[in-house]
């Protein structure tokens, strides 16, 4: 079926307790109604008896419920030779539990049009559940069951392994994924973030069923776990459902979270080119380690990133690479943030014969970005944009559940959205420049490229 072609590409790699200044009057910035945004007046925050933190936002204007959960098991917990262990474990959680078979699990879900899925990253394993309000108890129970008592049936594990390996084979040919992997190994040498948490064909083939069960038993547990719910369910009922299904979970042996070292500093430009013959286009990833979400300079960096490669048709980068020279359908910048020093990157899809030119243009924009402050009108436009779009991001239950999870994950405070306009409007051009200089430099960059390079 032909895909609808969109004018604006969806970004491939979406981005993942700041000091509060006294409010200053700012003309031209949107005024938001603080009570229309999630906050202490509309969000219930409680702890279950085993310490799991729960955030609940009632919304009876919608017929659905979304539940998200995060627990602390991920790629950082696996040895290099077992790369992908956390990911494969998460992929197998719904393949069978102590009470239900794979078919029973999916029959329960699909017969009511509900969704439940698990995934993992470097730090955490998460679930996402959605159902009509009337089926909320069903998905909550299923999510808890798959999380706490998966059975890893051997035949299902092998079936999943084969599907996972097929996905890895597809990834091997994906120019975007290969460019990203090349970039990661260059930007984080010797650092845990160079680890490929999806694994390789070799490591995935070498993981046994018992190792999955053991990983789950050791690393999954309620310590510091977070659950957020948004939708047509009364908070008292939601709380009692969660207490019933999640509150009794224990794992006294759950290890403490590994501490993450600071990201290494790049000293020069380093480049890694991966040739994938037969492709039509190359993908390019340029950047360096950036701030974690909890870093003091994250908010100025975020505003700066918006100016650099997001605002409008992808900011200054979009203007230079796509709009002015027509070199790319997609070219933008992304600030990962996250639980550690995730990358600050510029990404683009470029024809191999234009790669040098694209790299030049991008370096030139990075140079401009760290040499001089952004303009006053760029600052105000982007402040307005970030504030103005908040209600749009919080329109659906999906958006609210994700936002609540973020508030808690990064310790932003329940009243974060009430303070948000002030936080954004008080960022200065000097702060943006300072944060940019701390992370980016045109002569100290990692560059990952993948595509039909020999054929150019």
């Amino acid at each position: 079926m032909p895909r609808a072609s969109s004018r604006k590409s969806r970004p491939r790699r979406p981005p993942k307790r700041t000091p509060v200044r006294p409010p200053r009057p700012r003309p031209n910035l949107p005024q938001l109604d603080p009570r229309s945004l999630p906050g202490p007046h509309s969000v219930v925050r409680e702890r279950l008896s085993n310490g799991i933190t729960v955030l609940i936002r009632e919304n009876f204007l919608s017929p659905s419920v979304v539940i998200q959960g995060t627990c602390w098991a991920g790629g950082l917990d696996e040895a290099e030779e077992k790369a992908g262990l956390a990911s494969l474990t998460a992929a197998c959680l719904m393949r069978g539990t102590e009470r239900r078979s794979f078919h029973q699990i999916y029959d329960t879900l699909e017969s009511v049009g509900a969704s439940l899925a698990f995934g993992s990253g470097m730090h955490t394993t998460s679930f996402y559940a959605r159902s009509l309000a009337e089926d909320c108890a069903t998905v909550a129970e299923l999510a808890a069951e798959a999380l706490q008592t998966p059975s890893f049936p051997p035949d299902q594990v092998e079936r999943t392994r084969g599907e996972y390996l097929t996905d890895l084979a597809i990834r091997q040919e994906d120019t975007g994924a290969r460019a990203q992997l090349a970039f990661n190994s260059l930007a984080y040498p010797g650092h845990p973030y160079a680890h490929d948490d999806e694994g390789s064909l070799e490591t995935i083939r070498g993981i046994t069923r018992d190792e999955l069960a053991e990983f789950h038993q050791t690393h999954y547990g309620p310590r510091d776990m977070l659950v957020s719910i948004a939708g047509a369910v009364h908070s008292a009922r939601a709380l009692s459902l969660l207490e019933k299904h999640f509150g009794g979970w224990t794992n006294p042996g759950q290890p403490a979270r590994p501490t993450l070292p600071a990201a290494p500093r790049l000293e020069r430009i380093v480049q890694n080119r991966v040739t994938l013959p037969g492709k039509s286009q190359a993908d390019l990833v340029i950047g360096a380690p950036g701030p974690a979400r909890t870093a003091g300079d994250y908010v100025p960096a975020m505003l700066g990133n918006n100016i650099l490669g997001r605002f409008g048709m992808f900011g200054r980068i979009g203007e230079a690479v796509r709009e002015s020279e027509g070199l790319a359908y997609y070219s933008l910048s992304t600030l990962s943030g996250g639980l550690g020093p995730g990358p600050w990157m510029v990404v683009a899809g470029i024809s191999p014969r234009n790669l040098q030119r694209a790299i030049e243009l991008i370096r030139r924009e990075i140079e401009r970005f760290v040499q001089a402050r952004v303009t006053q009108s760029e600052l105000i436009d982007n402040q307005a944009s970030l504030i103005g779009r908040l209600p749009l991001q919080l329109e659906s239950n999906d958006g609210v559940a994700a936002a609540l999870m973020n508030l808690e994950l990064f310790g932003l405070g329940l009243d974060y959205y009430q303070r948000y306009p002030q936080i954004i409007s008080s960022v200065t051009r000097d702060e943006i420049l300072e944060s940019a200089r701390r992370y980016l430099h045109p002569d100290r960059l990692a560059i990952g490229i993948a595509g039909p390079l020999d054929e150019s």
Binding site: A4, G113, A169, D381, E395
Partner: protein, 430 residues
């Protein structure tokens, strides 16, 4: 569907307007739909509709190039446009007090797009780059060939993005002619959903759009695809280690009676379609083809797609061949499952599940004004909004014998195109 009246109007110049007040959040979504897409393109001009869509962002005298994106972004809005087989749509979702900006932009660029030569040249390479990005994906290459094989005559023959030879040779004059022909009020539908009052907004629409001349779009290309009388096979070789299978069956358009039994059939075979613009659908692991192909470790995944189109189109089933298996094995198992479907009628429980799944998907989609405004216009492109309003009722009235009938009628080998994507010899070692 979500309660809430749709207010309808038609301006004197033919512009259709649909408005729905939704007060759940201070947000509005504005869509402008033009009844032009790849189906309106002849050989030599494939991709022109999509290119014109790109040029709509490249400036008018009021909104010089770049200013339109900034104007919306600084208000915290989201926006995009899309070109498809039957239509091209532009949308903005904004804080409610910025509704007027969307209306001013759309009324302006309906008439005043500049198509500056420098921008035409620049956008040529951008679109070729977009196409090359698509070509990097094996499933795009396969799908393109299957579609071309399905439609020898009808203009559904080519991809929306167009063929490279046409992208390289089309001129600024071609673009402008296409724009003047099709971007006229009599060929357009404006849909709005969100936090506004419909009467003053309709007045404002009249004020901004009312003076645009009605225009007469060219008569649509009608080259009906002749019936297919034998299975067609297509092989596509390319990089990688993974094979894919795509099987496409000729099926009726969305306005025909058999469409809804086919939607139910698709749900039963491969899981429910996602009717929403954003957001993921529902898993399909209890569907018949998942059990026949994925549980048996022949395929790593399978999906089905029924599209709502103006003219008869294709129903496609796509499978990712599991490492170590062959496309022939997957196809053979698929054929066996289809034979089984014909031999035994579907169960009542399966019918009810299809309806419940569709109900859930609609409920999820009703949460954003963007999606609601999307539905309002989308249905008007091949039918009318009543089509969406009665969607669930129509699904509920499908009986097991209807499903069997359409399976027998449409899922035959002589009515299909089978495509295999195969790793070419000498692919790079992993």
């Amino acid at each position: 569907m979500t309660p809430g009246r749709i207010h309808r109007a038609r301006l004197r110049n033919g512009l259709q307007v649909l408005l729905k007040e939704i007060r759940t959040a201070p947000i509005v979504s504005v869509w402008l739909w033009y009844r032009v897409g790849s189906r309106n393109e002849r050989a030599g001009l494939t991709g022109v509709s999509h290119w014109v869509e790109h040029m709509q962002f490249k400036g008018t005298p009021t909104y010089p190039v770049g200013s339109l994106d900034r104007a919306i972004s600084r208000e915290g809005g989201i926006w995009n446009a899309m070109t498809w087989l039957d239509w091209t749509a532009y949308y903005e979702t904004l804080p409610a007090d910025r509704l007027d900006l969307a209306l001013r932009i759309e009324s302006d660029r309906m008439v005043n797009s500049l198509f500056a030569p420098r921008e035409v040249t620049s956008e040529r390479t951008v679109i070729i780059s977009e196409r090359q990005g698509n070509e990097n994906e094996p499933t795009f290459r396969l799908s393109e060939e299957v579609q071309a094989s399905a439609f020898r005559v009808h203009s559904y023959h080519h991809e929306v993005i167009g063929d490279v030879s046409d992208l390289a040779s089309m001129t600024r004059e071609d673009l402008i002619r296409h724009y003047h022909n099709f971007y006229v009020p009599s060929n357009a539908v404006l849909t709005l959903a969100g936090d506004f009052q419909w009467r003053p907004v309709l007045d404002r629409v009249r004020e901004l759009f009312g003076s645009v001349p009605a225009g007469t779009p060219p008569a649509p290309l009608t080259r009906p695809e002749p019936p297919q009388h034998g299975e067609r096979r297509v092989m596509v070789e390319g990089p990688g280690e993974t094979s894919f299978v795509e099987v496409a069956y000729h099926v009726p358009s969305a306005a025909e009676a058999d469409f809804f039994p086919l939607v139910v059939l698709d749900s039963i075979l491969a899981g429910p379609s996602n009717l929403n613009l954003f957001g993921s659908g529902i898993s399909n692991k209890t569907s018949r083809l998942y059990r026949a192909l994925v549980d048996t470790e022949l395929a790593a995944g399978v999906s089905g797609a029924m599209a709502a189109t103006l003219d008869p189109y294709v129903y496609t089933l796509t499978a990712t061949v599991r490492s170590g298996r062959t496309p022939e094995q997957v196809l053979s198992a698929l054929d066996q499952e289809l034979r089984h479907l014909l031999e035994e009628p579907v169960q009542e429980e399966e019918l009810m599940r299809a309806v419940k799944q569709a109900r859930a998907i609609f409920a999820f989609g009703s949460e954003t004004v963007t999606n609601q405004a999307f539905w309002m216009g989308y249905a008007e492109m091949f039918a009318n909004y009543g089509w969406f309003e009665t969607y669930l009722q129509k699904l509920e009235s499908v009986r097991a014998e209807d499903v069997s009938r359409v399976a027998r009628k449409f899922l035959s080998k002589r009515n299909r195109i089978v495509g295999f994507y195969l790793p070419s010899e000498g692919a790079a070692e992993i």
